[in-house]
């Protein structure tokens, strides 16, 4: 697979854009071609936030994903919105703590993870997105764990080593859950 598209979606505040950013940065560190495209509905408030990340061995034509390979869905409305478009054979990552519905499609793989619970165990619900990224990387192997850790470190550079430790732990826990 030379080109892979992933959609991240959830409520504003769930760190959805950060997840996408981490994936894209990690792809860059792995010397892949990457694009990151946020939904930029800033002129209208509310609704879900989402972004699309493309990781590819070749130059990327369109950063848009009509049929994503992977979908990381952090809440119920995201599932409703994106389920249909996922590529046959693709993988859905669900935050089972918040997504109440079950996917209807049978031609996609579903990975359910109690993200919030794990995050709380790690020490902070706010690292839910890091848990998810850990699981996502482990499952897809899309980018290297090393690059992910590096990306996360640089993103939260100003936040100090305590945050970094928690993030690393969250990624590991997420990863462990799907191992």
């Amino acid at each position: 697979m030379t080109i892979t598209k992933t959609i991240f979606s959830g409520f504003g505040g769930q760190g959805v854009l950060v997840m996408g950013y981490v994936l894209a940065t990690s792809g860059m560190h792995d010397d892949k071609h990457v694009t990151f495209l946020p939904s930029y509905g800033a002129e209208v408030r509310g609704g879900t936030a989402n972004c699309t990340v493309t990781v590819s061995d070749e130059p990327i034509a369109s950063p848009v994903a009509s049929f994503p390979d992977f979908a990381v869905l952090m809440n119920t409305p995201s599932l409703v919105k994106f389920e249909e478009g996922i590529k046959a054979g693709g993988i859905v990552f669900l935050n089972s703590d918040l997504v109440e519905l079950k996917p209807k499609r049978r031609d996609i793989q579903v990975v359910s993870i109690p993200i919030n619970s794990i995050a709380e165990r790690v020490g902070n619900v706010r690292s839910a997105n890091m848990v998810m990224i850990g699981a996502f990387i482990q499952k897809t192997g899309l980018v290297s764990l090393k690059s992910v850790i590096r990306s996360v470190k640089s993103i939260f550079e100003t936040k100090g080593s305590k945050v970094h430790k928690m993030n690393t732990l969250a990624i590991e826990q997420g990863s462990a859950f799907v191992k």
Partner: protein
């Protein structure tokens, strides 16, 4: 009982801003643990419409400040 009131909160309209809680003189509203479809923890009325021990006076302060017109107030 006279002069007593109660409120109804539309959970799906509510965005959990907590302004109603702040202004309620009787402490009759709190934030719920559940999430509504929009992802907010809505406000919930802590009293029973039918209960005689309601502290709610139907003063409408909560409704007046609710930016989402999620609260209806009743007397009686």
């Amino acid at each position: 009982m006279k002069n007593k009131g109660f409120i109804r909160i539309n959970e799906e309209l509510c965005k959990g801003c907590a302004l109603c809680i702040e202004v309620c003189p009787k402490g009759s509203i709190r934030i719920s643990k559940k999430l509504n479809i929009k992802g907010y923890h809505p406000a919930e009325y802590t009293e029973k419409e039918k209960s005689k021990n309601r502290k709610c006076t139907g003063c409408s302060l909560c409704a007046i400040i609710c930016p989402d017109i999620a609260i209806e107030v009743f007397h009686g």
